[in-house]
């Protein structure tokens, strides 16, 4: 992939992250999920950026999405989004750096979702105290299913990109 193509792709992914994040906050929460729980479709964007562009792009996508959250939903939501986004991007980058070929998209999705939740609960606990960790088991279990879903979407995105001959 040429440099220009990479920048263009990172831009498209950032836009997708912002848009899917906004859309997801509109749909009603899953009936059995704890408050604030989301599937995390926008995570697909930073994972795709990590896999198809560069680690730097993954962090940039997460940061851009968080800034959008800061503008639309305030500081608390921003901190939660930033912590979750950066930590999960970090996990994705590390997995691709050290275990590429050994882990699949679903594994990346699940691990990324788990650390996303962990980071958010940590930030949340600074606000409401240790009671936040009470939600962690539910988030981890539910997050596994949602992480697998984002993994499938990541696979679709990578296939789409490689068909266009942009394979890294």
């Amino acid at each position: 992939m040429k440099r220009g193509e990479k920048i263009a792709l990172a831009g498209v992914l950032s836009a997708f992250a912002v848009a899917s994040g906004a859309l997801e906050s509109l749909i009603p929460p899953l009936p059995f999920a704890p408050p604030g729980f989301r599937i995390g479709i926008s995570n697909v964007a930073s994972m795709t950026a990590a896999a198809a562009v560069s680690p730097f792009a993954a962090f940039a996508v997460a940061l851009i999405k968080s800034v959008f959250v800061l503008i639309t939903r305030g500081t608390t939501a921003f901190l939660l989004s930033l912590a979750g986004g950066l930590v999960s991007a970090c996990v994705t980058v590390l997995l691709l750096r050290f275990a590429r070929g050994k882990v699949g998209c679903i594994g990346i999705g699940v691990a990324s979702a788990a650390f996303h939740n962990l980071a958010q609960v940590c930030v949340y606990s600074l606000i409401i105290g240790t009671a936040a960790f009470w939600y962690l088991p539910y988030l981890l279990i539910l997050g596994t299913a949602c992480g697998a879903l984002t993994g499938i979407l990541l696979d679709l995105a990578l296939r789409f990109i490689s068909k266009r001959d942009y394979a890294p």
Binding site: G101, G104, I106, L140, I141, I152, S162
Partner: protein, 125 residues
């Protein structure tokens, strides 16, 4: 190298996350509340609920299940004292005094378990 949809390692990642989640869930449910409560049930129906931390003097009582079993409550815990059942497994369970412990007398259909609930869900009055 191409990243595939699913590799064997993914299974381990997912299982690890699920296990941690389940373990945390169990840990939280066991550590909640301070009091130990013994619940005596006959065929799933609650017969008696005893706040074990509030027991000061020991006593025994009889539960008329399919067989008549005698249960002993003491400050140390709760146990099946005697049962006319053939295998006496229930008596062999011995003293229960920790959250999550269960003793069952299958022939009588009577079970004793210790729950970790000291708090309540609501207040009337």
């Amino acid at each position: 190298m191409k990243t595939r949809l699913f590799k064997k390692a993914d299974l381990f990642i997912a299982l690890a996350v699920l296990l941690i989640g389940a373990a945390a869930l169990i840990f939280i449910s066991l550590s909640q509340g301070g009091g130990r409560t013994a619940v005596v049930e006959y065929r799933g129906e609650t017969v008696r609920v005893i706040d074990l931390d509030g027991v000061k003097e020991g006593y025994t009582f009889t539960v008329s299940g399919d067989l008549e079993v005698v249960i002993e409550v003491s400050p140390q815990g709760i146990r099946f004292l005697s049962s006319p059942c053939p295998d006496k497994r229930c008596v062999e369970f011995g003293l229960l005094n920790k959250k999550g412990q269960v003793a069952v007398c299958m022939p009588a259909g009577v079970s004793v378990r210790i729950t970790g609930e000291g708090e309540y869900d609501g207040v009337t009055g």
